[in-house]
Symmetry: C2
Subunit: 428 residues, 2 copies
């Protein structure tokens, strides 16, 4: 048996506590599988006094993350603080500079500073692993980086924010509006301190940008992710989608096109009987498509103490076993510029709007779509009250630009009341 | 860039040809990701003259697998011959003895000789990798060995024979009897040369025994897998199951119990709306359950040129990247005896039988179940002809022993016509 592998853990929230618990409860198993005892040298967290239900008395307590990261008796710095700047970034940089490997669950940090950190790690001869940053307990970073390493990836998709999926699923099952379910989720503690990270798709967008970098060998480019959250999804849209055999999911899609890398995190209609359509509640799902393998789907818990700690510890075990890969699967210097392509991949769209109830209104809508080059696959007018008529359109494949053109045109017709809704239909 | 990693490939069927194709078409990508060019030094196959659609002129041709395995210019022996004995085994042993790493898609070889081969590999300081041997393109060996390495696994399940799943799915969708669909599958080329490997669950049982060894840290013990194939599944059972919200799958389950390791590969009823229940056609699915992570589900193509070659090449890439783990995730000497436990985990059962249509018949059946200690959850008697009555029973949780006891009892009642059917209902 080799020397112990010694961890310094910064952040003792849910995940950090879970990591301590696994190491304390499974010491023998971890050593048998990795060939080395895994130990903890030092920890830090905001509140030393809080009772976390684990015994921390055997570990040195530091007052800040950088002190943990740079201790002589630490081999791996485990960063569980979060945030794309501040102490997480400073401590991670300090750890690499001090010759430590880094294991992190911090998607924001890597989405914003991934290329620079990967270069710093390589310059120092150290590794950064981040399985826990994407889709919780699902070993998707490993599946993509290693399991599908011989594939040219063609598309990566995922439902990677459990809170949004919980909200959308609950809206459908209980017939409740967004605002009500959002409030429920808040009270259940499902939302981030800043809920925009969840419902505006930012958190999930961070994750998508990391998977895209690995899949397509490109530098992480979170700024190029087209972000659209779920706040504007109405219960009517969920119902109409269900009527047509679809469900609405906050779906991330990264795809290499002839024009460059397209990355979207946005509500999409997906077939209700597809694996993505069937995904309920807080569970995550990632779909990987490669030229040789075809489609591989991974499903599992996207958050929580046990699942996230499991992913953190998988990275620790990899390092204990001598598995040392570049951060994004290939040397940072060889990662290509992504050439962000917005709207490169056409798709059918679902449109919902309310028309004034007078002769010729529907004709004006149809003409506007025609002028925008959008062709209609299906159109339905629903039963309506005296003065207005809800109308649904499913288009043939078209571009986002053409849809935006049509949406502008609708405003000029004078027959469309309020904002029309446009949601992409993704072929999954 | 380091020295090339040189392969010797034995077997140029579908998978071998796929491996050659990936190496020829993706040379730059493979080198960028692994840091080493991947090349082929030599190949062998039964028929040199066959046109495989790939150019083999740059590779030495050997007449037998052992010659490929022992060449000086070969670093990894890629064994794609198949079979648990004969040339595959001899060449694999020769490769290890000659100091080569081995990548294989051969589940039968490892199911029968895994412990000895793992010991031989360790003694020689070489590795054996076998991602392609289990569930085709799904990176499940990696997910289990590495991705969930920090978990105590509690249960591993899977639908891992695409042909059986095709047959069962097609029986349901087309309402056709087993014999008809079996013949269709044969004509479509879906069946192994010896179809018993598929329909008797042997092939899937091999795979289950390999996953169980990794999951539970035990020596592979294929002989302890309780095997029951799909030949006796009648279209009536598929229909009755559907009526009750279930589907019938050839499901492998490995579970560590207080009495030892239970491994079963048998038809089971699973909820129709569960991921396993929704699996259609030839696709494979593996469900991994760990104490920290909860449940992770992996779904993908279980066979075919591209998917299986993708898995073979993932192992090659691992070795190129310096990832070297023991065959079953921990040193062979540390693998425990499995202490096979048959029937340790209770479950509800579905029973179908035909009764003579006379007073008291149903009472005799109910009494027989009671005598066996089997308690009834639901019972249905279907519309029937003049002389006999089909009866369905769903039991509460019970043991296989109790069910077998009841089945014997039925024979003695004189009111049960023919063989009753008993199928386990697995909670997934």
């Amino acid at each position: 048996m080799s020397e112990p592998l010694r961890l310094g853990i910064a952040g003792l929230g849910t995940v950090g506590t879970g990591v301590v618990r696994i190491i304390q409860n499974h010491a023998g198993m971890l050593a048998a599988r990795s060939g080395r005892p895994i130990t903890i040298s030092a920890v830090c967290a905001r509140d030393r006094m809080r009772n976390r239900g684990v015994d921390l008395s055997g570990y040195a307590w530091e007052d800040d993350a950088t002190a943990v990261a740079t201790r002589d008796d630490v081999d791996i710095f485990v960063e569980l603080i979060g945030g794309d700047n501040g102490p997480a970034k400073a401590a991670t940089e300090a750890a690499l500079a001090a010759g430590k490997d880094v294991v992190t669950a911090n998607k924001a940090l890597l989405a914003h500073h991934g290329p620079a950190l990967a270069e710093a790690a390589e310059a120092a001869g150290r590794v950064i692993r981040f399985e826990a940053a994407v889709a919780g307990g699902i070993p998707v970073v490993k599946a993509l980086t290693e399991g599908l390493a011989a594939n040219t990836l063609t598309r990566v998709m995922g439902v990677m924010n459990g809170t949004c999926n919980y909200i959308l699923t609950r809206m459908e099952s209980a017939g409740l509006p967004y605002e009500t379910v959002f409030e429920e989720a808040r009270q259940l503690g499902y939302l981030e301190a800043d809920p925009r990270l969840d419902v505006d798709g930012i958190d999930a967008g961070h994750k998508l940008s990391l998977l895209a970098a690995i899949a397509f060998g490109t530098r992480v480019c979170f700024d190029a992710v087209e972000l659209e959250g779920i706040r504007r999804i109405a219960i009517e849209d969920i119902r109409h989608a269900a009527d047509m055999g679809y469900r609405i999911k906050l779906l991330g899609v990264a795809q290499m096109t002839g024009r460059g890398l397209e990355q979207r995190m946005s509500p999409c209609l997906v077939p209700a009987d597809s694996p993505l359509g069937q995904l309920q509640g807080g569970t995550n799902m990632v779909v990987l498509e490669g030229d040789s393998v075809g489609q591989v789907v991974l499903r599992g818990p996207g958050a929580g103490e046990g699942p996230t700690a499991s992913a953190v510890m998988a990275d620790v075990m990899d390092i204990a076993r001598g598995i040392r890969l570049p951060t994004f699967g290939q040397p940072a210097a060889s990662l290509a510029e992504p050439f962000p392509a917005r709207g490169a991949v056409p798709a059918p769209y679902y449109l919902r709007m309310t028309l004034v109830d007078k002769p010729g209104a529907l004709a004006k809508v149809a003409a506007t779509l025609g002028d925008a080059g959008v062709s209609i696959n299906r159109m339905r007018q629903y039963g309506h009250d005296a003065s207005s008529a809800p109308v649904l359109v499913v288009t043939h494949k078209t571009t986002r630009d053409a849809i935006d053109h049509a949406l502008k045109g609708f405003a000029a017709t004078g027959v469309v009341i309020g904002e029309p809704v446009a949601i992409r239909i993704e072929a999954v």
